[in-house]
Amino acid sequence: MAREAGLSPLEATLMSTLVYSGTAQAATVGGFATGAGILAAVVTVLMLNARYLLYGASLRPWLSQTSPAQAYATLWFLGDANWAMSTKAHAGGEHDAAFIFGSGVSMYLPWVAGTALGATAGDWIADPRTLGVDFLLVAFCFAMAIDLFKSRTDVAPAAAAVVVAGLLDRLAPSGWTLVAAGFAGGFTAWLRYDDAKGKAA
């Protein structure tokens, strides 16, 4: 995917090493392709990775048993899968904070290696458009959206995102379209949240 946006294999691999977030990298690479600026890209990453605020927060009681240096090193490797694994292990009686670090690193290394391999293989494809390579990003994002869609509470934020993205794309197409869509979805969820019921309406 990164190759499609004009990143070299080295640049793509470096990006995986530094940013380490599938959704954030997919979105910002999409932004490069449409010529979005650095600010739009940073806001996109902040928004997509906002869930890590929650992950980190939930790990606080566990991770604060270690030294700050160890805790922040562990957080560098924090990902969706290893957070889910760690939370489950913690509930099951695992209290060694090294578990979070270990499971994090074991997700991180394949991610970086996979990018290096994929970006190098991209050089061998002759005409990307005939093979539909330009559609990779859209298809991947759509698949992830389907995966992220868990319940009826997701309908309203999703609808808000689609409407805002559709309108903005007509009026002012840019990397900001997805930023606006993200805020529209998040704000809708915030508005619709029902304190009395303790869940989104």
Partner: protein, 102 residues
């Protein structure tokens, strides 16, 4: 293997933004309590951003792109794997482009 120097500030800014999120929550918990309402908002953002990428592509796309999205959806329902669904969708787009006159 090329590395454009002008790209480095962007990559570093993204890395910083990414790590800020990873470490920020852990750090912020010293000061803030995350209300369930705020949690709902943060949880809704990724889906919305993904749709913010898909929607413009769907609106601008022709028959191949629409078919590709439909196949992606079907594959995702069948196999529940985002990578498999992605390749099915891309294959559908390539097939349609090959068969239909451009």
């Amino acid at each position: 293997m090329t590395l454009r120097v002008e790209l480095l500030p962007l990559l570093l800014a993204l890395a910083l933004a990414s790590f800020t999120c990873r470490a920020g929550g852990f750090w912020l918990m010293r000061f803030v309590t995350v209300t369930p309402r705020l949690r709902a908002m943060l949880a809704a953002a990724p889906l919305a951003v993904m749709l913010g990428i898909v929607t413009p592509a769907a609106l601008r796309g022709g028959l191949p792109e629409i078919a590709g999205l439909a196949v992606t959806f079907a594959a995702m329902r069948l196999w529940r794997s985002d990578l498999v669904a992605m390749f099915c969708g891309v294959a559908a787009v390539a097939l349609c482009r090959g068969l239909l006159p451009q």
